[in-house]
């Protein structure tokens, strides 16, 4: 189900040239001061700082697991996933909960901000100049006033070690 949701913006945007007024709603978030977005339909929950239990032997990107109202959620550290430097000590990190294949994942980010509705006309494919880690995990970018918003591809973010 979540896969459909994730695919939708991209296919909707493919047809954007034709009708020109397709819109996409994104939950925006910050990762090492880079503005990013995740399709709002893919987001199940937004959480404040959580107690996360470490999982030994897990891939480095897996921060651990947490209890969300009786369900076990695997937390993925997006900074590590995108090979960004670790967050400064004492940062209260937030997470965005998403679902894939019936499993819940919490994507750990620096900060979650507003929901933006963006016109497809401003959407562009991933520029080749984007750092490789970013390029591999984004669906494209939006040009906003004076800054860029990277649309994250949740399915690819969760494809850890080929297992996802």
């Amino acid at each position: 189900m979540s896969l459909d949701v994730l695919d939708r913006p991209i296919s909707a945007l493919a047809g954007a040239g034709a009708d020109g007024d397709a819109e996409q709603m994104l939950v925006t978030l910050l990762l090492a001061s880079q503005l990013c977005g995740i399709p709002v339909l893919a987001v199940r929950d937004v959480l404040g700082e959580q107690t996360i239990a470490r999982i030994p032997l897990a891939p480095a990107e897996v921060a651990g697991s947490l209890n969300l109202r009786g369900r076990i959620v695997t937390a993925i550290d997006l900074r590590r996933r995108l090979r960004l430097p670790p967050a400064p000590e004492g940062t209260r990190r937030m997470s965005v909960v998403t679902e894939q294949g019936g499993e819940l994942y919490a994507l750990l980010v620096d900060q979650v901000s507003e929901v933006m509705t963006l016109r497809a006309a401003a959407f562009e494919p991933v520029p080749p100049t984007l750092p490789a880690e970013w390029a591999a995990h984004s669906a494209g970018i939006y040009r906003l006033d004076g800054r860029l918003l990277v649309v994250l591809d949740v399915a690819r973010l969760l494809a850890l070690g080929g297992a996802g």
């Binding site: 107690t51 239990a53 470490r54 999982i55 030994p56 032997l57 897990a58 891939p59 897996v62 651990g64 697991s65 947490l66 209890n67 009786g70 076990i72 695997t74 993925i76 294949g101 499993e103 994942y105 969760l158 850890l160 070690g161 297992a163 996802g164």
Partner: protein
């Protein structure tokens, strides 16, 4: 009444209730094609099923009604009240007959001709020949009197509930268990409170409810297997092969939904095994195998999973053919294939459209194959692995998670994290010290950095949970440890943890797919305090630490005992040095203890070195010929033979220079016998190592160590293809007072029998080339002088299923190969029964 009939009655009862409604609806809206097709389907199903069950009256009525419905559906007949009445009359009649069956188990007698005639008339568009009520009632008068009483019984036995409802109930119960746990945790901290009693009651009810709800969804896997014997029989016939189907663990329960989903993959795999795996009788004879091929199905619970294994003893998977085919299909280049391990190559069979059958037979090889099986299994969160022994057979192992299982677990801590260990696997908890101050009952020794636990005179392999999980191990190890002793297959293993808490009921939840590769965990759970912890998989731990060779992870050359020649099994060996630079080895399970004895405690008695050990004198035998008096301390391997029943309690210390290591190796001993005291040499850890002949040194210490045996005592025949194991076990048997002789295989054993040798008991290995232990015992039981002897099976694996299979074949008992004491106890018991 048989199950089939009961199912039929339940199902038909529901259809009939629907039919009444639908027919009335049809009468009001004659053009409703959907209702019409619903009616048609129901009647058609009834007709089909009762034909199958041999219910002639029902079939006749249903057939006639169906005929009318076909014409209605094809619009050759208009829906008129008289037509509907005729069909309703038929439904009434069917109901009457069905309730008759429910009451008596068979069709009541009666004449349906008027009903059928009315239907035939209706089908032709004529008005019913006789007025319907008049024709139906008198005929019905006879049967209904009886069924009226039986009817309620037929309708209230079972009800159908949508799986969704059960699924929701299950989720709710899971939440309830967690909440109950939280409550218990809260109250536990407060001592005695008014809440304690009602909470205890709540707790009990929750457990009962949980069990009840679990039961509603669980079904024995036998349900998915019961069609297989017939399938295999037909296949054997069709393919002109002889095939035995062996099923173990049919009572293993698993989720109904999961059961449905694995039915087809299982059938497919059994079909494959019969078609591709097993050879024709002539080919099997040529390969020196029994004519009948065997397909073995096994099911058992393992942690939070159900494991299903399908094995055949056929020709194995053709690795070369798979390689060629992968190349031909462009799945990999020649260079890639060359670099691939065999296990990787084998996994090509899970690719879509990959079939190696040279010709497409009716049975399999139609291109819908293992890829579909794999997809179906992965869809329910399972994994599939295969192993292959060319010439000996191949096997598949499916591991399916129980979607929601609740289990009791021991909560332990390592580093800063807590973990759950399934209570089922935990044998005992030991508080073990190390160093001099430790109690002698349980202490931890280190052999070259490898910890071993000495527990009640036995050495047990140990793993540190912290080290295993790559957690910070830099901290100095504490003087005392908690050791959780777990049972993995037939082996025991100690897990060192930092702290032990309570046992807790946990809801086993499968781990996220990104963590599936971490085999150390079987799931995760939420504790009473709301924290998330991982559930340890003792099997995974044993495999990861390489301590249990026989239980290697399926897929990476799992060494199925039944398929494996003895020469490939792993043995734990103690490596040491004594004189010279060469390494020496002795099987760890023969060594009772390792001691370091101070030089001043070594005395001479009668010209031989002895020491006071545990209140008596223990002879010391220096491997080098003399005790090096310069040393402050002597490393001594203690061999003990404590047999209270025989009044024997003696021990011997083998003096060596230095204990080196413990290795787990496939032992292939090149027997030499050139030097007394050495059994031969083997390559261990990449170096040539001499393996000592324990029997020789025991004799050195006590000239009479084996004396009790000579000529007296019951005569035991040990059948094992491995010369090494015979060399190992014969002295043990002799030492225990048996007159033991060896045979190198089933054929030799049978020759001894035919030559008229007198034997009191037989101990036989299971996995042997040419004729295995199972076949041997079957042959023995067929007749001859040894037909009634006790025969004890010896195997690296002794799971409940293996034991049962062994017993069915005719074994008197089943003992794990490494368990010397169990073997001796079993032998004594068998012999006392035999003589009594």
């Amino acid at each position: 009444m048989d199950d089939l009939l009961a199912d039929f009655l339940t199902e038909t009862g529901e259809s009939l209730a629907d039919l009444d409604l639908a027919l009335v609806r049809l009468e009001r809206t004659p053009d409703d094609a959907e209702t019409l097709s619903l009616i048609f389907r129901h009647v058609h199903t009834v007709k089909g099923t009762c034909g199958f069950l041999g219910l002639a009256r029902l079939e006749g009525v249903a057939h006639a009604a169906e005929h009318v419905l076909v014409r209605l559906r094809d619009r050759q007949l208009a829906v008129t009240p008289s037509v509907v009445s005729a069909v309703l009359a038929a439904i009434d009649r069917i109901k009457a007959i069905v309730s008759g069956i429910a009451a008596t188990g068979s069709e009541p007698a009666g004449d349906d001709a008027p009903v059928i005639a009315a239907l035939a008339a209706a089908a032709e568009g004529r008005a019913p020949a006789a007025p319907r009520p008049a024709s139906a009632e008198p005929a019905e008068a006879a049967p209904p009197a009886e069924p009226a009483a039986g009817e309620p019984a037929a309708t209230t036995q079972t009800i159908r509930v949508a799986v969704d409802v059960l699924e929701d109930l299950m989720t709710l119960v899971g939440e309830l268990v967690l909440t109950r746990n939280q409550l218990l945790q809260l109250v536990r901290g407060q001592g005695e409170s008014a809440l304690s009693v009602p909470l205890q009651r709540l707790s009990q009810i929750t457990s009962d409810l949980q069990e009840g709800v679990m039961k509603t969804r669980m079904q024995p896997i036998g349900g998915a297997w019961n069609k297989l014997p017939r399938l295999v029989r037909d296949l054997a016939h069709e393919l002109d092969k002889k095939i035995d189907l062996v099923m173990h663990g049919a009572e293993t329960e698993l989720d109904r939904q999961v059961l449905e989903l694995i039915k087809d993959p299982l059938t497919h795999m059994v079909r494959n095994a019969a078609d591709h795996g097993l050879e024709a009788a002539a080919e099997r004879r040529a390969a020196g195998k029994p004519e009948s091929g065997r397909i073995t199905l096994r099911a058992f619970h393992e942690g939070g999973h159900v494991v299903i294994q399908i094995e055949d003893d056929g020709r194995g998977l053709p690795v070369d053919k798979i390689r060629t085919k992968a190349l031909a299909r462009g799945l990999a280049s020649e260079a890639e294939l060359a670099a691939m391990a065999e296990a990787q190559v084998l996994r090509f069979i899970f690719r879509p459209g990959f079939s190696t059958a040279a010709e497409v037979t009716a049975v399999s090889g139609r291109g819908v194959g293992m890829d579909v099986v794999k997809t179906n299994i992965e869809r329910i969160g399972g994994t599939i692995d295969l192993d292959n022994h060319p010439g000996h057979g191949s096997g598949f192992s499916i591991k399916i998670p129980l979607t929601l299982a609740i289990a009791s677990a021991l909560i332990v801590q390592a580093g800063d994290e807590r973990f759950a260990i399934p209570q089922l696997a935990v044998v005992e908890l030991v508080h073990a010290g190390s160093g001099a101050e430790a109690s002698s009952d349980a202490r931890i020794d280190h052999i070259e950095g490898t910890p071993v636990l000495r527990l009640r005179e036995r050495l047990m392999p140990l793993v540190s949970l912290r080290r295993l999980l790559d957690m910070d191990a830099t901290e100095a190890p504490p003087a005392a440890h908690y050791v959780v002793v777990v049972q993995v297959g037939t082996a025991r293993l100690g897990i060192i943890v930092d702290a032990v808490f309570d046992t807790e009921e946990i809801v086993v939840k499968p781990v996220a797919p990104v963590l599936r590769h971490v085999t150390m965990f079987s799931g995760n759970t939420i504790l009473g305090d709301g924290s998330v912890i991982m559930i340890l998989d003792p099997n995974g731990i044993a495999r990861a630490s390489g301590l249990v060779g026989a239980e290697v992870r399926p897929g990476e050359r799992r060494e199925t005992a039944a398929l494996l020649p003895a020469a490939q099994r792993r043995t734990a060996l103690l490596l040491f040095r004594a004189g010279g630079d060469g390494k020496l080895a002795v099987p760890l399970n023969l060594v009772a203890r390792i001691e370091h004895i101070p030089a001043e405690r070594i005395e001479m008695s009668g010209g031989r070195p002895v020491t006071q050990y545990r209140g008596r004198l223990m002879p010391l035998v220096p491997l080098t010929g003399a005790v090096d008096t310069e040393r402050a301390e002597q490393a001594v391997l203690v061999f003990a033979d404590t047999e209270q029943s025989l009044g024997r309690d003696r021990c011997m210390g083998l003096v060596v220079d230095e204990i080196l290591d413990v290795a787990d190796e496939v032992l292939r001993v090149e027997l030499s016998g050139a030097r007394p005291g050495l059994l031969g040499s083997a390559v261990i850890a990449g170096r040539a190592t001499d393996v000592i002949d324990t029997a020789h040194w025991l004799r050195e210490a006590h000239g009479d160590w084996f004396a009790a045996a000579t000529g007296q005592g019951p005569r035991v025949l040990l059948v094992d293809d491995s010369e090494f194991f015979r060399g190992l076990l014969l002295p043990v048997l002799v030492a225990a007072g048996f007159d033991a002789i060896g045979a190198a295989g089933a054929a030799e054993a049978l020759r001894l029998r035919d030559a008229g040798h007198r034997i009191d008991a037989i101990v036989s290995d299971i996995a042997m080339p040419e004729m295995d232990g199972i076949a041997l015992v079957r042959r023995l039981r067929e007749g001859g002088a040894w037909a009634h002897l006790p025969v004890i099976a010896l195997s690296a694996r002794a799971g409940a299923e293996e034991v049962e299979a062994g017993r069915q074949a005719g074994f008197t008992d089943y003992v794990a190969k490494s368990d010397r004491d169990a073997l001796l106890a079993s032998l004594r018991q068998c012999l006392s029964h035999a003589t009594a």
